[in-house]
């Protein structure tokens, strides 16, 4: 790579890194707590987590249970 192209690329890299360094961040403990809270709040709606009653599952074949 000639010096021309890499100088340009480096200048842009420096600008990009300055942008990224200026991002506002929160602590992992707070971020983790919020991810967890979202999971807990929506767990009951998550059919793959808790399953759904047989009647409302569109993919299940209708089953009958005959008690004789």
């Amino acid at each position: 790579m000639s010096s021309g192209a890499s100088a340009n690329a480096l200048q842009r890299l420096v600008e990009q890194l300055k942008l990224e360094a200026a991002v506002e961040r929160i602590k992992v403990s707070q971020a983790a707590a919020e991810l967890q809270q979202y999971c807990m709040q929506n767990a009951c709606k998550d059919a793959l987590l808790v399953g759904v009653p047989a009647g409302s599952n569109p993919f299940r074949e209708p089953r009958s249970c005959a008690l004789l």
């Binding site: 890194l17 990224e20 991810l35 793959l48």
Partner: protein, 388 residues
């Protein structure tokens, strides 16, 4: 995964000296020009300020990278799985295959759900009449359900309006929307049928207007092929995440074309990225056999989903509705289900007879579909013992 890289040589008249040479793009006050290598060298030396040299730019870049790591590390006060210690562990998981779709004549490469949750579009390595190339690597359903977009080795993304009229030739109504200089690896409609976001082996992503085929925005920054992308859930604004062969996951602002955050912790190509349902984080699956979770507000990786026994690459990932489960398809034909919070594997699903290449949870979260090189798609859900 990428097997080839293509080098594009542009020949033409230099914008400065007008001689016929091999050209490279240069930026002068944010305008892109094409200079021959001689003029580019001259411009570079003119463009640098008095005390700036290549060396000082490099060292500034290094120190900025170091500063970035330091800032991120300062906030790393705890691990996600530690915070989740008090959360109840998940019980025994039983997932059952409800449908096995066999219609493809070859490897299934991509799939997407229609918002009506009843229809799926899938693409494969076929010798089909309608597509001009054999590898259709990306496909997506329009939000209205009235069209699909797909593309691959033809370097294009084309939109096909859907019709249930058997007499209509779908290929005739095809509209070419996106043009890249290398293969199309991923595509997605934005919130409407009017715009498409694409990712390509040429290292860029792009936003296109479907009606006019016009390029609305391009996203430059990846150092190699871009393999995947995912749009942020609509409530969280106009961003998307992309993953590439340069091992980087990058978050982009769709309006400005700017990369707002970048993450480089994977050790190999990133094959799949997917936003966490709240939009505050995203997961990635990579050829390094791990999946990782990156939190956007903490600006760092917060979890790694891996096991010593898992040595094959993860090709595709998706979250369940609540974000508690991460489904990941692997090249060893299995699907691993991970507890996102605790970092542990809750289940391993078998059934496919070749690589799992694509995996998506349905829009309402009741089922998920996996596509494989074994030519089939399998729809699975959580088996619930119930008395009817």
């Amino acid at each position: 995964m990428c097997d080839q890289t293509f080098l594009v040589n542009v020949f033409g008249s230099c914008d400065k000296c007008f001689k016929q040479r091999a050209l490279r793009p240069v930026f002068k006050k944010s305008q892109q020009l094409s200079y021959c290598s001689t003029c580019a060298e001259i411009m570079a030396t003119e463009g640098l300020h008095e005390n700036e040299t290549l060396a000082s730019l490099k060292s500034e870049a290094e120190s900025l990278k170091g500063k970035l790591e330091e800032e991120r590390a300062k906030l790393h006060d705890v691990e996600l799985h530690q915070v989740a210690e008090r959360v109840e562990a998940l019980g025994q998981f039983v997932m059952k295959t409800r449908r096995t779709l066999k219609g493809h004549g070859n490897k299934v490469l991509c799939m997407d759900w229609c918002k009506d949750k009843r229809r799926i579009v899938s693409s494969s390595q076929e010798h089909a009449v309608t597509m001009p190339c054999t590898w259709v690597m990306a496909c997506a359903y329009a939000p209205s359900g009235c069209a699909i977009a797909c593309g691959g080795l033809d370097n294009k993304c084309s939109v096909y309006p859907l019709t249930f009229d058997k007499n209509e030739n779908m290929a005739a109504k095809k509209k070419s929307v996106a043009m890249h200089t290398n293969y199309l690896s991923a595509c997605s409609f934005t919130n409407s049928d009017m715009q498409i976001l694409t990712a390509s082996g040429d290292g860029t992503c792009a936003l296109w207007d479907v009606e006019s085929g016009q390029l609305l925005q391009s996203f430059h920054g990846h150092g190699a092929d871009v393999l995947c992308l995912d749009l942020a859930p609509s409530e969280t604004g106009n961003t998307f995440v992309s993953g590439g062969c340069d091992k980087k996951a990058m978050v982009w602002d769709m309006r400005s074309g700017q990369c707002v955050q970048a993450f480089e912790t994977h050790e190999s190509d990133i094959n799949s990225v997917r936003y966490y349902p709240s939009g505050d984080a995203f997961a990635s699956g990579s050829d390094d056999a791990t999946c990782r979770l990156y939190d956007l507000r903490a600006d760092r990786e917060v979890a790694i989903y891996s096991k010593e026994s898992i040595i094959f690459g993860a090709s595709s990932v998706d979250f369940s509705l609540s974000g508690r489960l991460l489904f990941a398809g692997y090249n060893d034909y299995t699907i691993n289900v991970w507890d996102v919070l605790k970092g542990s594997r809750v289940s391993i699903l078998f059934g496919h007879e070749n690589r799992v290449s694509t995996l998506r949870v349905s829009p309402d979260g009741t089922a998920f579909c996996s596509g494989s090189w074994d030519h089939t798609l399998r729809v699975r859900d959580a088996f619930l013992f119930s008395c009817v």
